[in-house]
Amino acid sequence: MRSAFEAYTAPKKEIPRSVYLTVSAFVGISVLAGWCILSYGGFVRPDFLPTPADVVWAGVSGLQDGSLLLNTAVSVGEIMAGFILASIAAVPLGILMGSFKIVEAAIEPVTNFVRYLPVSALIPLLILWVGIDMSEKITVIFIGTLFQQLILIADVSRGVSHDLLDVSYTLGADRRTVVTRVLVPATMPGVMDTLRVTLGWAWTYLVVAELVAANKGLGYFILNSMRGLFTDQIFLGITVIGLLGLLTDQLFKAFRNWLLPWAAEN
């Protein structure tokens, strides 16, 4: 009989669900407990580290005066607009780029150049060109997301097996049919994974853009709270972003499994 320690520390081995949940809960509760001890115990000044209750109250008052919902709605709207626009362009272009050398030759050099530019470096230029309203945030997200998506989706498309295309030709499919009925569906799981990952990155670009110049949105809310030393509100803003990320990720996963049952993840 092996000891529990031995059984639970083997690489790439399953552990019981109960153990898994216990460990997750233990770490979560410990972090919360550490926070309580530091804040309620008076070890850290409240303007550095608010108590959990302060953050909850900041949330309640934010909900009451409508500012929390407004700022969240603005951020979510900007993210969605930028992300969807980028995806509409990146999915077809990326698929073509990975499977047609001529498209790769046209787009890949430019993409690789832009991809290595931190989007934050473009923000001053974009402010000059587009202004500081919503369209600037959307542009930042669009540029930041598009080029990453292009490279990742091109890789997915490149990875589609040649034999899958060849067998389609021997079944009588013409080139157009092979692209629409074989290449495109074959890339879908990888495309969905790419979208899910890049949606997370889009949040980063958004908050950066809102920290630089904005008068609405969660990034602005956080920055503005810092100016008044409202640490509880800073924590609130961060928590909301984290929860939104978690929520969109779960929604995306459910959407993928619904759309692609043949490639469903557990």
């Binding site: 899958l164 060849d166 067998v167 030709y169 021997t170 079944l171 009588g172 009925r181 692609l260 043949w262």
Partner: protein, 258 residues
């Protein structure tokens, strides 16, 4: 006129920044109607390339390939192919996979369904019509691939080591199944393998290829009566043929190593 004629075909290519490679040289070969022809050769002899040439997926550098007297220039549904790798469309069910060629060819839904059902039964997969490929074993996937190729009613069936990735028990069952189907369907088959037992068990004639550049070294008639069952594997005639082909291949393998 033979069903398939391969005339003096050569295949050369130039790897980027390398010396030109001659993969195939002076290949001449004929396959008769309803014949089960097998090509066997050491790995790297270009036998897969030869099959892709017949499929029209690549073009020969010189020479000509004719099916029913018509030159092959591009892939077409008259030459169905089964690959060694698993090539089922993962997003389609078994039924939809088998229907794919018919669907692309504009066959009406009802007829499509009937034809697909027939071949799914033929390969022994009734009850799996609605399964997705990832729910199937390797042997089952290759049976679906075979049904998919047959549903299109090709003039010739091209098989590129289709059982190469399967375990030996499954492989031998698949060989028997393939012979049974071939006897029903009256098809011309060009089958590629490096497995000598498989070549003799299946083939009417076995063409032995040389190491690169691949040529046809010798053609061996397999005069073992049909229908064949696994018992023939231990018959003296089988063993004699095996010894002969092994000798031919061994010479080539040694030459390729040198």
């Amino acid at each position: 006129m033979a069903k398939l004629e391969i005339e003096n075909v050569a295949l050369r290519f130039l790897p980027r920044g390398g010396k030109p490679v001659t993969a195939l040289e002076g290949i001449t070969l004929a396959v008769e109607k309803n014949e089960f022809a097998v090509i066997v050769g050491p790995s790297g002899c270009g036998k897969s390339s030869l099959l892709r040439l017949v499929a029209g997926l690549i073009e020969p550098t010189t020479g000509i390939i004719r099916l029913d007297g018509k030159a092959v220039t591009r892939p077409g549904k008259d030459r169905g192919m089964v690959f060694q790798s698993y090539t089922l469309f993962p997003w389609l069910t078994v039924q939809e996979n088998v229907e794919f060629g018919l669907r692309v060819g504009g066959v009406p839904a009802e007829e499509r369904r009937k034809t697909a059902r027939h071949f799914i039964t033929e390969v022994g997969l009734e009850g799996f019509e609605r399964s997705y490929p990832r729910q199937l074993s390797g042997g089952m996937m290759q049976r679906v691939a075979l049904a998919r190729a047959l549903a299109n009613d090709p003039e010739i069936l091209l098989m590129d080591e289709p059982f190469g990735a399967l375990d030996s028990q499954t492989r031998s069952l698949m060989q028997e199944l393939l012979l049974k189907i071939w006897e029903h369907a009256q098809k011309t088959v060009l089958f590629i393998t490096h497995d000598i037992d498989e070549a003799i068990f299946l083939g009417d004639r076995v063409h032995v290829m040389t190491a690169r550049p691949g040529r046809i070294k010798e053609m061996v008639e397999i005069d073992i009566p049909r229908p064949r069952s696994v018992e023939v594997l231990t018959e003296p005639k089988f063993i004699a043929l095996k010894r002969r082909i092994m000798g031919l291949i061994h010479e080539e393998a040694v030459r390729a190593m040198a």
